[in-house]
Each structure stands twice: as structure tokens, then as C-alpha cells.
């Protein structure tokens, strides 16, 4: 039975950030992820915002880790080469009454040590955001945007390069403590670990209940988003938020630019029974659009190219207001069992700071020694579409696959698809390609490139078409060959 010193359950942004932090030390670390790739849940489906820390009450864990995490992002981006832009955020007030909310937010923000907060009047906002309609707005210069899936992938792939083992499509079926070791049963076999970190997101309660009676409930809360075509990227320059809806525990429908040029509208907030119910609904899609139009009156009808949703892991019921702080704690009954509970927004921002905190907790359990071989830097190659003509020519001269465009919308080359599929996590589903090199993310939504990616999977990776999947273990793309290879 394979034995690890630390086993992390969950390959979301939190699990991946902890894995990366642990990979600096001389340790055997494993990450168990039930999806076909990291960032399969909420870590992929969120606004991609690096929050400033003004929205959580002073002295809460949410505020502390958000503010600390925010400060760590730039150096992490430099090391891991994931996209990050400090575009800033306006929270807009529609009337005098909402200005009081802005003042309150500013005060909380200042107490949380968020720098540079300023309330701007309408004409100042108009200068920067001519399409936005508002009365006044709170300007938050330290809010930024990233690509949440690429951030998570960067953390995980860097951890893998530093010898953390990732087990994808591996679901924990049982967890027991035997003497000093945890016995981890999965659909891919049994493992042992000295320390178990429960970073299972929405499934955190399910994991706890394998060990002990949980003293909390999870309230899944769905957020739907609409994605706008890149043609409309000039509508806004920074993030535009309304004042948070009181007593809802969420930030409200906002308009967020993305690094790729698509604008996001959302998220909605709907408490649901089934934590896997990631559907989009007609009602919400309409509401999102109308609410966004309240902020940007010139928002065009035909702009939407996609819709998706993500599920928040809330520890507070809607009746109680939907707000609860994070719980990051070692089990009292089961030493070595570390739980991260209710890590919802601003979890993406908080992840690097939470990871540091977990290292501190683990250092009390295991002796941590830094390894000299740690490779802190991960170099993301520039995309073909971002390169100069000279760079493009030189690469094509070396390998002609750089001269074969397989995604017409995003100008992604065959070489980039092969590189994406050769990732150190060995994630080989169609969405692994999409989230690493953007093939299939454009306005044709995979109409042209899918056939090329399938060919590449067959030719370069010897994959059988019957085994090709969209995004998860059972999301098969095809039913085998039409002719030959099967009895009709």
C-alpha cells in the first residue's frame, strides 16, 4: 500500500495551493481529486476576482486570509506565470441611500487595512467608465482579475513538477484512522497517510462524516454566469459591482472583465438541495441580463456566447443570512485530520494565505525540511497569438506544429494543444485542453477545433475515441467507431 506523509483531498484551488506549498519540503504528498482535472468545481466556475478584503467583517478569517492572500498574488504570478491584472473595482451606488453603504464598506475596508479606498462622484466614474450608470462609486484599486482555472492549474502543475502525486478521477470511498496512520480507501485502491487535509469543497462534510459526526451543515448556493463575446470587451475597464444585497451573504450581480476579453455577468445566488446541480435556468439568465443592463444601459442583446454556474459551499443557511466564516481547524478527536470548511468567496484570493496557515499547522505534526531541489518557477510559454512574427517564425522553423492552427477563433496551434495534453497531471479530457490553451473557448465553441483535438489525441496520445471525454469520468464524447472495430 502506498504511503504518503500528507494526503490532500480535493484538487481545487485550496488543495492545489496547499500541495504547491508542501512541495517545497522533503515530503511525500498526494492529492486525491474525483474530477478528471484540477479546478473541476467552484475553482473553475467563479468570477476570477482577486478581492481586496473590504467585504468581510474585520477580524474574520475571511477578511484576514483575503487581505493576506491579495498581497501574495503578484509574487505568485511572477513565479508561476499565470495571468493577473490589477484592474480595480468600482462598487456603485444608485442613490444617496446606497452611498451610506459605500461609506460603511470603506470603513470596514480601512479597518481591514485595505489601501487606496476612495468614494468617487459620478463624473469621475464616467471618465473611467463611460458606459456605467451610477450616482457615486467606491473605488478599490487593489482588486484584480485572474483566470481562476489557470491559477489553480499553475499551482497544481508546479506542485506536480516538485513531486506531489496527483490522483485524478479518484474518489474517496472511506477514511479511517488506524494507530498513527490514516487509511484512505478510493475507487483506485487504498492508500495510507500521516496527515489528511480535507479540502474537498462542497464535499467537505461528506469527508468529515467518514471520520466523525460533523457539527455543521453545508448549504450549496448556486451562482449562474453569462459570458459575453469578446467584441464587447470595451464596455468596461474595471470591475463593476452593485452594493451587496443586505442579509444575503453574497456580493450581488456584477460585471467583471476577464483577462481574455470576455465580460462576465453574474453570479446569481440560489440555495439548492443538490450540490451537483450546476444547471443554468432561463429565469436566472434573463434576470442576470436585466440586472447587468441596469448598470450598463447599452448592453447589447446578442452579446452572450456562453452560460455556466458554480456552487458556493456555504456553512450558513439562507434563513440565518447566508454568512458564516471559514473554519480551518484540526479535528480534536482525530489529530492529524485537518479540515477546511465552508471555503467560499473570497476563497480564490485567500488560497495562498490559507495554504501558508495549513503549513504552519502541519509543521506541528511533522518535521518540515525545505528541499534544495524545489523549482519555484513555472514558465508558461507565450501563446502563439501573443507572439511577434519573429517568435512565431522561429518556433515554426523548429517544429512545424507551431504553424498548424487548430482553433480558428483563438488561433491556437497544434503544438500548443499537444503541450496542453502533455501536462504533468496527465489530465487528458477535452476541457483540460480548453482550460490550458483556450482551444474551444471562442465564439464557435469548439465547432472547428474539436475534430482536430480528437485527431491529436488519437495520433499523439494513442487514445481510443471511445475513451475520450469532455470534462469528467463519464462524460464520454463518442460511441466508438462508426465502422470496423465493432460488431454491428
Amino acid at each position: 500500500m502506498k504511503n504518503f506523509q500528507v494526503a490532500i483531498i480535493g484538487g481545487g484551488v485550496i488543495g492545489s495551493a496547499i500541495a504547491r506549498e508542501l512541495s517545497m519540503f522533503k515530503l511525500d504528498v498526494a492529492v486525491f481529486e474525483m474530477g478528471s482535472d484540477v479546478a473541476s468545481g467552484a475553482s473553475k466556475a467563479n468570477s476570477g476576482v482577486v478581492h481586496s478584503g473590504i467585504n468581510s467583517p474585520t477580524s474574520s478569517l475571511k477578511a484576514r486570509f483575503c487581505v493576506e492572500g491579495n498581497k501574495m498574488f503578484q509574487s505568485l504570478a511572477n513565479e508561476l506565470d499565470f495571468p493577473l491584472q490589477w484592474v480595480g473595482k468600482y462598487i456603485i451606488a444608485k442613490n444617496e441611500e446606497e452611498v451610506r453603504d459605500l461609506e460603511h464598506l470603506k470603513k470596514v475596508g480601512m479597518n481591514n487595512n485595505v489601501p487606496g479606498l476612495e468614494i468617487k462622484n459620478r463624473s469621475e466614474v464616467k471618465k473611467k467608465e463611460p458606459n456605467v450608470s451610477c450616482f457615486k462609486a467606491l473605488w478599490i484599486p487593489t482588486a484584480g482579475i485572474t483566470l481562476p482555472y489557470q491559477f489553480t492549474i499553475a499551482l497544481a502543475e508546479n506542485a506536480a513538477e516538485n513531486n506531489v502525486v496527483f490522483f485524478l478521477e479518484t474518489k474517496i470511498t472511506d477514511l479511517k484512522k488506524q494507530k498513527n496512520l490514516f487509511l484512505i480507501k478510493t475507487n483506485k485502491g487504498d492508500f495510507q497517510a500521516g496527515v489528511v487535509v480535507n479540502a474537498a469543497g462542497l464535499n467537505c462534510r461528506e469527508v468529515v462524516s467518514m471520520m466523525e459526526e460533523p457539527d455543521f451543515q453545508v448549504y450549496p448556493c448556486r451562482g449562474e454566469y453569462l459570458v459575453l463575446d469578446k467584441n464587447y470587451s470595451s464596455l468596461i475597464n474595471s470591475m463593476i459591482y452593485p452594493v451587496p444585497v443586505k442579509g444575503s451573504g453574497v456580493l450581488g450581480v456584477h460585471i467583471t472583465p476577464t483577462i481574455e476579453g470576455n465580460i462576465l455577468l453574474g453570479p446569481s445566488a440560489e440555495f439548492i438541495g443538490d450540490p451537483y446541480d450546476k444547471r443554468t435556468t432561463n429565469e436566472t439568465m434573463n434576470t442576470l441580463f436585466l440586472e447587468a443592463r441596469g448598470i450598463i444601459p447599452s448592453l447589447p442583446d446578442k452579446a452572450v456566447i456562453n452560460a455556466y454556474s458554480g456552487i458556493r459551499c456555504k456553512l450558513a443557511s439562507p434563513e440565518s443570512g447566508g454568512w458564516a466564516d471559514y473554519r480551518i481547524e484540526e479535528s480534536k478527536n482525530m489529530p492529524g485530520f485537518i479540515n477546511l470548511l465552508g471555503i467560499e468567496s473570497p476563497g480564490l484570493t485567500a488560497a495562498p494565505a490559507i495554504a501558508k496557515e495549513i503549513i504552519k499547522m502541519i509543521s506541528h505534526l511533522i518535521e518540515l525540511n525545505k528541499k534544495n531541489s524545489f523549482k519555484s518557477r513555472r514558465h508558461r510559454r507565450k501563446r502563439f497569438s501573443e507572439m511577434s512574427a519573429e517568435e512565431q517564425s522561429n518556433l515554426i522553423k523548429k517544429d512545424e506544429k507551431w504553424g498548424r492552427i487548430v482553433c480558428r477563433c483563438e488561433h491556437v496551434t497544434e503544438a500548443e494543444v499537444i503541450e496542453a495534453l502533455s501536462n504533468p497531471l496527465e489530465a487528458r479530457v477535452l476541457s483540460s485542453v480548453k482550460y490550458r490553451c483556450r482551444a474551444g473557448m471562442g465564439r464557435c465553441q469548439g465547432g472547428f477545433c474539436t475534430q482536430h483535438i480528437v485527431r491529436i489525441m488519437e495520433e499523439h496520445f494513442n487514445m481510443d475515441v471511445a475513451d475520450m471525454r469532455l470534462k469528467s469520468p463519464n462524460s464520454n464524447l463518442f460511441y466508438g467507431k462508426t465502422r470496423g472495430n465493432q460488431s454491428d
Binding site: 444547471r279 435556468t281 432561463n282 452560460a307 515554426i396 506544429k401 480558428r408 464557435c444 475515441v465 462524460s475
Partner: protein
């Protein structure tokens, strides 16, 4: 075409560069060569020529043009042979990244980056299919949702079976033909769902692709929801009223593993858009004059990137016009043409191509009506003067109408708007 041995950026100079090697591009290239263009190059991003045709293995192509019914691959090979005989240069697996106002094209292929300076450019990039999100179907995002053309490519080109129990949304010809194709390959086609009160495709395809195999056609219906966390598990269909609003209570769930979308086509015009060529909001293609020249001088457009055609025969005929105009344009550097008049779609008319008249004389119009009807009259009026009157036994938005009109010089001196209208007889 001179091919220098450069490596960094390979330079060419040509009379006519055609972007896209589908039926429109090939017809335009052949025509440009026939009309005197000495060097013609066709640039295509695929490893084959003919665009979508090689995957359209059914017959019915070329009937109007040649009198015989060909399959898609046969029709494509006919034009490929013509192009080869004429010595037209072909660049396959080559993606045009951009072109500038001086008509210098930047393209990339496995040999490297290419700069192609063209006296005239013909745009023939074709179209792409509408996706689920163009009509905003709510629900889950499972695998098993394909546009009809993508499924067609998998089955007919790549020998890959995309599904077993299939619902098809949209009764255009591609959707109908895919119903039969899937049936032939052993799939269970559970029905074709159409939001309109009538099938969008030809009666021939309704009969030979659906009725022959007892495949149900759900008219006045649409897909309202998609279920399936991983692979598609079921769709909900519902009836719609005259305003296409869903009638609540008519929802019906159908178990299936595959949903094919045949929702229509969108002209592909990123290249034209990027350089500021004016795009007609209705056709989705560039605004053109009677020579199919766009608002950027020396750049012409044809095929499905100009407007979505019903048949390849008509498409090829228009593409020949574009090729001919491009050849002439490259031969004589003529002064900028003025816009003399605009063609305005009036009552009952959805659009007319060309949108601009820059010289008097014979003009071929292609147009679509707004709704089906019988016994109508098509008029073109310039101020109070009628310059066209044509009786039509029946009209349908799904059937493009082609009509020739002679626009006299004197009309163009007195008005700037030529209105096309449809009235009941």
C-alpha cells in the same frame, strides 16, 4: 507566383488571393483565372479543398448548374479539377491571420509565416454553425451536444459515432439529412424539433429523411432544457405559440444521449470585421455593391460569408461574379467607385444583396422574404418610378429569390434609395 527561399517571412505577390477553398472560393478562383487574372492563390485552413462539401456525402448538388445530381464530394472534385487544370496555386493548412488596407495578407502554415500582396482579395471564409448559446438553451452542460455539421464531420469524415439516441433541434436541410444519416448508421433518431409551424428544409428532405423512416417531426416545438451531469441524459421539449413563447404545461421529457443542433449558420467575418469592412446586420456578411465588392476597395466577398445560401449552385454562380470582378479590379486599378444608390429592403423583404449600386446597368439581386406566402409581386421602386415587377407563385423565407434587374442611368441621378417590396396579388 514567385516563391523566394526566405525563411523568416515568405513573400508573394499575386493578382487575386482567395481566402477559403470551399465551393465559393474555388468558383471565384476559377472565374478570376478565366477572366484574365494571371496569378491566383487559394488559401485554406483545412488539409483538403472543398470546405464542407466532402462531408456532405448525400446527393442533390449541382442540379440547377449541371443538370445532374451530384454528391458533395463529387461536386467539390469537379471544381478542384478545374482549379488544378488552370494552375491555380493552392495553400492548404494555411490560416489567414489578418490582412491590411493595402491588401497584404498575413498567413501561417507549417512552412512559416507568409506575406501575400494581392491586387484583389476575395473573401470566401464560409460560415459557422449557431451553438446552444445563440439560442440560450438552459440546463446542464453535458457531453453529447453537437452542432449538426460537427456530427456530420465525425460520422462521414472521421468514422466516429457521436451518439446512439438522438434528438435533432432544427429542421433545416442539414438537420434532416443528419436524421437519415444517423438512422443508416444504426442510431435511434427520436425526433426532429422545429420551432416554426413548417419544416425549414426542402420537402424532398422531409419525405426522404424523416417520413421514409417514421422519424417524428415536432413542429411549433423547441428544446427548453438539457439534463445530464456528465453525458446528456434527457431533453425537455415544449410547444410554442404564434409568438414563439413556450406554452406552459406542454413540456415533455425525452430520454436521449445526444442532441444535434441545426439552428442555422452565421457568416464568418472576423477578418473583415478586424479591418473595418462594413457588415450588414441582417445578412451577417459584408455590405457589397453589384460587383460583390465590399466597402474596402479591392476586397470582394462571396459564398456563405457574404450571405447564407440555400444551394451550392446559386452560391457558385455568385462566387463567379466575385472572381470575375476581382480579376478585372486587379487588371485596371480603377478609381474609387462612388456609392450611387442603396438598395433598401422594404415591406415583406428581409434583405437584399447587393446593398449598394455603384453603376447603372444589369444587376443580379438575391433576396429573402420575411414570411411564407402565395401569389405575390416583387417590386423595385426608385422614388415614384418602378424598375422591376415580378410575379411569384409562392415565396418562403427559406428559399432565396434570385432576380435580374436593369437599373437605368436616369434613375440613379434622381434618387439614392431603391426600395424592394413584396405585395400580395
Amino acid at each position: 507566383m514567385v516563391k523566394p527561399e526566405v525563411i523568416k517571412v515568405i513573400d508573394y505577390t499575386v493578382d487575386v488571393a482567395v481566402i477559403g477553398g470551399g465551393p465559393a472560393g474555388l468558383a471565384a478562383a476559377v472565374s478570376a483565372h478565366e477572366h484574365g487574372a494571371k496569378s491566383v492563390v487559394v488559401i485554406d485552413r483545412n488539409s483538403w479543398l472543398g470546405g464542407i462539401l466532402p462531408q456532405c456525402i448525400h446527393d442533390g448538388f449541382g442540379v440547377e448548374e449541371t443538370g445532374t445530381s451530384m454528391t458533395g464530394p463529387e461536386y467539390a472534385e469537379m471544381y478542384i479539377e478545374m482549379a488544378e487544370k488552370q494552375g491555380i496555386d493552392i495553400m492548404k493548412e494555411t490560416m489567414v491571420l489578418q490582412f491590411d488596407k493595402k491588401r497584404e495578407i498575413t498567413a501561417v502554415n507549417k512552412k512559416g509565416l507568409h506575406k501575400i500582396k494581392a491586387s484583389a482579395i476575395v473573401l470566401a471564409m464560409g460560415c459557422r454553425e449557431k451553438t446552444r448559446w445563440n439560442v440560450m438553451i438552459s440546463g446542464d452542460r453535458p457531453s453529447g451536444i453537437y452542432t449538426a455539421g460537427v456530427a456530420q464531420a465525425f460520422i462521414n469524415l472521421y468514422n466516429i459515432m457521436p451518439g446512439k439516441n438522438v434528438i435533432i433541434l432544427g429542421s433545416g436541410d442539414v438537420g434532416l439529412i443528419m436524421a437519415r444519416r444517423l438512422k443508416f448508421e444504426g442510431a435511434n433518431v427520436l425526433g426532429v424539433v422545429e420551432i416554426l409551424p413548417y419544416a425549414s428544409g426542402l420537402p424532398r428532405n422531409v419525405v426522404q429523411c424523416l417520413e421514409d423512416y417514421d422519424i417524428p417531426l415536432f413542429l411549433n416545438h423547441t428544446v427548453t432544457c438539457i439534463d445530464g451531469k456528465e453525458r446528456l441524459e434527457q431533453v425537455t421539449i415544449a410547444q410554442v405559440d404564434g409568438e414563439m413563447n413556450i406554452i406552459s404545461g406542454t413540456e415533455k421529457k425525452i430520454e436521449c444521449d445526444t442532441l444535434l443542433l441545426s439552428l442555422g449558420l452565421i457568416p464568418e467575418n472576423e477578418l473583415a470585421n478586424n479591418i473595418g469592412i462594413e457588415i450588414d446586420n441582417i445578412t451577417g456578411g459584408p455590405t457589397v455593391n453589384q460587383y460583390l465588392e465590399t466597402t474596402l476597395s479591392g476586397v470582394f466577398a462571396c459564398g456563405n460569408c457574404l450571405q447564407v445560401y440555400d444551394t451550392v449552385d446559386v452560391l457558385s454562380a455568385d462566387a463567379e461574379n466575385a472572381g470575375r470582378s476581382a480579376a478585372k479590379n486587379s487588371a485596371i486599378q480603377k478609381k474609387d467607385k462612388k456609392i450611387i444608390a442603396k438598395i433598401v429592403p422594404g415591406k415583406g423583404i428581409r434583405y437584399v444583396v447587393p446593398q449598394i449600386i455603384s453603376e447603372p446597368g444589369k444587376v443580379h439581386l438575391t433576396l429573402r422574404v420575411e414570411k411564407p406566402g402565395e401569389s405575390s409581386v416583387l417590386h423595385m421602386v426608385a422614388g415614384d418610378k418602378e424598375i422591376l415587377k415580378k410575379r411569384l407563385a409562392w415565396v418562403n423565407p427559406a428559399n432565396m429569390i434570385g432576380v435580374d434587374v436593369d437599373i437605368p442611368h436616369e434613375v440613379l441621378t434622381s434618387t439614392q434609395n431603391l426600395e424592394v417590396i413584396l405585395v400580395d396579388r
